[in-house]
Amino acid sequence: MPVIACDVKVLEHQRLTDTIRLMTVSWPRRDKAPKAGQFFMLRCWPADVAPVLSRPISVHSYDPELATLDFLYEVRGKGTEKLAALVPGDTLSLVGPAGNGFNVAEAAGKRVALVGGGIGTAPLYQLAKELCEAGTKADYFCGFRDEPYGMDRFTQVCGKVQLATDSGRFGFHGFVTQLLKPEEYDLVLCCGPEPMMRAVAKLCDAVGTRCIVSLERKMACGIGACLGCTCHTETGGRCVCKEGPVFDSKEVFGA
């Protein structure tokens, strides 16, 4: 199913923390319903204006009834700064839904843990929702540097919710990996900084729990056309935007 390009309207734009924003946009194309783990290439500046490339942002939540999409994102540099300047009524150009997304059918009925680090929690909310609809309440482990965000939403669609912060200001003082007991789960689905995902994958490996990760790469096209986002693996390159961003950790980090 080829991705589409679509101009959508910004409906709401909230500031959750100094650097975290939650943006709601219309997504009229119900025939192209995005699923958990998929993403869009976002652009709200003309083709001839910097930055040259559009920016990939995951689906934080899709509401098929309201036909709206939520993006949860961190303001890091030029691209996300431009996104952050959008106000309701503005137009945003989207390319997507892109990527493979999480395999919810496979996870349904299993003991599932979601592990998120920082802004890596963004795609996990849509995932938790889809799992919940499929009858599976996943446990949610999240780690933040200091201030957590977006957590309240998860409580309704997850089982246990556990929080760790590096600073210790909120929840457990330490890494989320110290909270997770992978032996209690059949499947661990993870998104966050790569070192954290590697650590989670290692813990899972040690006890034989399957671990699924969602990778981040710089992207030019987001649709498999440029090969700029390749992840090198022992069995060859994987196109993160098209074959991913969701992979079995063994496939991309090795066993």
Binding site: P2, A5, P51, L53, C221
Partner: protein, 303 residues
């Protein structure tokens, strides 16, 4: 007034002058949901080589002012895989098929071209200009004599219309062009990316593992246009111009400089509908200026 965008390239009719540039347009199908591919002149697929290549390690992309540096390194599944799995889909897209053929040694170029002979490929675009691979890339694109050798050897076995894609790194772009035509090129396309460099201040080392990588995008357009202007004056075969084209006006500059058609690369990342938008803008300009066919203006700015 009825405007015709049709272009006849080496006996094949193309619906328009805009071709998706190699390496930026996948094998075409990726854009099928966004672009009316039937309006395009053609699609130049990702560069393929006889032996599959894994491409480069490390950073592959870097944004620069109005430009993009890439270090893909010709990652591709090989010519045979292209023929078996990509070409059948390309055939359904309703536009001309350009096989962008890279190589390692000359024998690999020859064998790759031979494999393409019995296929539905419309044009073989010989890539002697990739700055991101050590062998079979830029090596042939700098000195006219090296280019001449590889082009004539491929020409001898290639039964398809043969377009040679030049590097802006060529010592003398006109000599290079003439050498390739003498060696049997039916047409030329230029430019490939410019060898460029970037340094990561925090790591205090080059951003790219290969140190150098290829610059493309609007930043290079003025230089690319100069080279196309020069080459159009140096050879008597069709020239396909590219390098930084983002608008219909950009494309028209290349055509007025003498280009038969144009390719659009990096612009696809700035606007996924760029190839179609540019085509429409060309048509609108022709309409507004009473120009019915591109033949009326091709080369008109040459002095």
């Amino acid at each position: 007034m009825s405007v015709s965008l049709k272009v006849n390239l080496l006996g094949k009719e193309m619906a328009g002058p805009v071709v998706g540039a190699s390496g930026t347009f996948g094998f075409g199908k990726e854009y099928a949901g966004m672009v009316d591919l039937k309006k395009l002149g053609g699609i130049s697929g990702k560069g393929i080589t006889l032996i599959p290549k894994a491409g480069n390690q490390g950073e592959r992309l870097l944004e620069t002012p109005s430009g993009l540096i890439n270090s893909i390194g010709l990652q591709n599944p090989g010519v045979q895989h292209f023929i078996d799995h990509e070409l059948p889909v390309m055939e359904t897209l309703g536009t001309t098929i350009w096989a962008n053929l890279g190589g390692g040694c000359i024998e690999d170029y020859e064998k790759g071209a031979e494999l393409l002979n019995p296929t539905s490929v419309d044009f073989v675009e010989l890539n002697i200009s990739c700055p991101n691979v050590k062998q079979g890339g830029i090596a042939y694109g700098i000195k006219a004599e090296s280019a001449k050798e590889v082009v004539s050897r491929v020409r001898a076995v290639c039964k398809k219309p043969l377009i040679v894609k030049l590097s802006p790194q060529a010592e003398d772009i006109c000599q290079m062009a003439a050498a390739c035509v003498e060696a049997g090129a039916d047409a030329l396309s230029l430019v490939n990316t410019f060898q460029a460099c970037a340094i990561d201040l925090e790591k205090r080392r080059p951003v790219f593992n290969n140190i150098f990588a290829g610059l493309s995008g609007p930043a290079i357009k003025p230089i690319a246009l100069r080279m196309v202007y020069q080459v159009c004056g140096a050879v008597n075969v069709p020239v396909i111009g590219l390098g930084g084209i983002l608008t219909g006006a950009d494309a028209l500059e290349f055509i007025m400089a003498g280009a038969t058609a144009v390719q659009v690369g990096t612009a696809n990342f700035m606007n996924p509908r760029a190839c179609e938008t540019i085509t429409d803008e060309i048509a609108a300009w022709m309409e507004a200026h009473g120009v019915e066919t591109l033949d009326e203006i091709r080369g008109c700015a040459r002095v």
